[in-house]
């Protein structure tokens, strides 16, 4: 649960990771996030004055890692907001409202976790992998840390990551033991990450899929899991103004026709709640 105020955090480091930046914010007193939760971030100075006098509103980013009093974020420069954050130097200030949203709910059974990520969407899978390594999932939905401190047994964690090109594939370093594929064939299998996923499910379909990535990829994952009757949790994106349920701007249609706010009902949704993952429900990448 986020405190009721944004926090002014210092940039601890901003490192290049292939086509991405890994932004590390010192947040020694912030509440620990659950895997899949996100933050609303804005540079404290000169937020604005980019393309079209933007950004004005804060931007949503998955918390990629939480360790040593720092929150890590994986950023891709796609517009004025991410550009400004990507250029920040150590010691500069960032406003952060975090952690927000509902994260992954690890399946408590013995189904093996299949982590499927695309592009900068791999970020929340890193902290999920950390959590899965730390312990076994709890069933208690109100638990702050969804992972019990007991050592995990049973099936190993499988990580499947897809990237557009080799520069972006450097992002895979954020997770350990990942199988990587790429659209242009520069790294690993040439093709979508659902090729890898289909192969894994062929091998052993007793799995739970945790996926995050661009809408088209998520939709492919959703459709594949539906066909194979494999439970999946999808971390969605949407254009957001507030991140805490205030603006009703971040909705996605759910099965049955109602709209759900991604920031408070998600960003992680059970795939079963969605008819499909639509493109352009927010900032496409």
């Amino acid at each position: 649960m986020s405190g009721f105020a944004r926090r002014l955090l210092k940039v601890a480091a901003n490192e290049r990771l292939g086509a991405y930046r890994l932004l590390r914010l010192a947040d020694p007193h912030g509440p620990a996030p659950a895997p899949g939760q996100f933050a609303m971030l804005a540079a404290a100075a000169r937020w604005g004055a980019g393309e079209d006098e933007r950004p004005h509103l804060p931007r949503a980013f998955s918390i990629a890692r939480w360790q040593d009093g720092e929150a890590h974020y994986l950023l891709e420069d796609v517009g004025p907001g991410t550009r400004r954050l990507c250029e920040l130097r150590a010691g500069e200030d960032v406003w952060a409202l975090a952690p927000l949203g509902v994260g992954f709910r690890p399946a408590p059974d013995d189904a093996r976790p299949l982590l499927v990520g695309g592009g900068v969407g791999i970020a929340p899978l890193a902290i999920l992998q950390d959590g899965l390594a730390r312990g076994r999932p709890t069933l208690d939905p109100s638990a702050q840390d969804p992972f019990l401190p007991a050592p995990r047994e049973g099936a190993p964690v499988t990580v499947l990551l897809g990237f557009r090109d080799g520069e972006r594939a450097h992002g895979a370093a954020l997770l350990s033991g990942a199988q990587v594929c790429s659209d242009d064939g520069s790294v690993g299998h040439r093709g979508p990450v659902t090729d890898l996923l289909a192969h894994e499910l062929d091998r052993d379909a007793h799995a739970t899929v945790y996926a995050c990535g661009p809408p088209a990829m998520l939709e492919a994952v959703r459709a594949l899991c539906e066909r194979r009757a494999v439970p999946a949790q999808l971390a969605l994106e949407a254009g957001m103004a507030c991140g805490f349920g205030a603006c009703f701007g971040c909705v996605v249609p759910t099965r049955g026709g109602a709209y759900a706010r991604v920031c408070v009902e998600g960003p992680v949704f059970d795939a079963a709640r969605l008819e499909c993952v639509q493109a352009h429900t927010g900032a496409p990448r």
Binding site: F4, H56, L57, A241, A246, C247, G249, V251
Partner: protein
């Protein structure tokens, strides 16, 4: 029914009584007979207090940022709202095409109202926060039903009537035409004894005339400005054909971009009426709030800035009280 002599207490020559306390404690304001801890409220539709309670927990209750809480617009029937995308970031602002999603009058009264009342009740040193329910109807009959229902519920301290609703025949906002506005109010005002705030539309040739019509029609206060009609540029698809970005086609512009349009409209409206005015539009700081108060507003509402900083209203109220504006 006319507003003259209606019982909101008001010292001579002043529309409200915000005074500046050098110790920085926000000083109480009286508005339409309601006692508010300070002059800052939220703009309708820009803060979901129940969602915020779930996100922020008990801190929200103890540090509730608004001196009165204004609900988002409630309509008679439930509305799903517009299809996404609903947001477009504009130069120094935001265009929204939310489409007034709400569970409808019945759902609101049954589910939201008790929960809101519990949240807003006096809590420790914090006095109770009055609840203002914002409603919209597309006909006089609808509006009358909404007002009557609000009259019955003690949790509701006052009603804000959103008149930015398109007239089904003309397609124009009901509130854009002074004569039509006054007529609708005269037909419906009798259904509510509580204070009625009329939220004017800014998309009009003469907002002062609309303000005056609202007063003549029986409003106890007016609030402005609502969002300016605007449109997001259509991204061009690969085929080169532009497609609409916002699910709702056009949308409404809010935030700093509209601040000085709001100031002009608030000043023009306040100069024309003798009832109190809630000013809003792009307020981000105590200085901006002060400009609206100087222009004749009694209260100031904070909208889009709460998206950037959920405690913006507290900050603004504190800085106003400290005279830092």
């Amino acid at each position: 029914m006319s507003a003259e002599g209606r019982g909101h207490d008001r010292p001579d020559g002043e529309r409200s009584s915000p005074s500046q306390r050098p110790d920085g404690a926000p000083s109480a304001v009286s508005f339409c007979g309601l006692r508010l801890a300070h002059p800052i409220v939220n703009a309708s539709g820009t803060f979901d207090a129940l969602a915020a309670l779930a996100v922020f927990g008990e801190d929200l209750r103890t540090e509730f940022p608004f001196a009165a809480f204004v609900s988002k617009t409630i309509t008679l029937a439930p509305r799903a709202g517009n299809p996404p995308p609903r947001l477009w970031e504009a130069p120094a602002g935001l265009i929204n095409s939310i489409g007034l999603p709400n569970r409808g009058l019945e759902g609101y009264l049954e589910h939201d109202l008790p929960a809101l009342a519990a949240l807003l009740a006096a809590h420790g040193a914090r006095p109770a926060v009055p609840l203002i329910t914002n409603v919209m109807g597309s006909t006089a009959a609808e509006i009358a039903t909404l007002l009557a229902a609000c009259e019955e519920r003690p949790e509701i301290a006052a009603v804000e009537l959103n008149v930015s609703c398109p007239n089904v025949r003309t397609g124009l906002d009901i509130g854009a035409d002074p004569a039509q506005l006054q007529a609708v109010l005269e037909q419906t005002r009798g259904h509510l004894r509580k204070p009625l705030i009329v939220k004017l539309t800014p998309n009009t040739a003469d907002v002062a005339a609309c303000a005056h019509a609202a007063q003549q029609g029986g409003a106890d206060a007016i609030s402005l400005i609502n969002t300016l009609r605007a449109r997001a540029p259509a991204p061009r698809g690969p085929a080169g054909a532009p497609r609409a970005w916002l699910g709702g086609g056009t949308g409404g512009l809010s935030g700093p971009a509209i601040r000085l349009v709001a100031l002009a409209q608030v000043a023009a409206a306040a100069a024309r009426v003798s009832i109190p005015v809630i000013g809003m539009g792009g307020v981000q700081s105590a200085r901006h709030a002060r400009a609206l108060l100087d222009a004749g507003a009694s209260l100031v509402a904070v909208g889009t800035e709460s998206f950037r900083d959920p405690t913006a209203a507290s900050r603004i109220a504190r800085e106003l009280a400290e005279g830092r504006a």
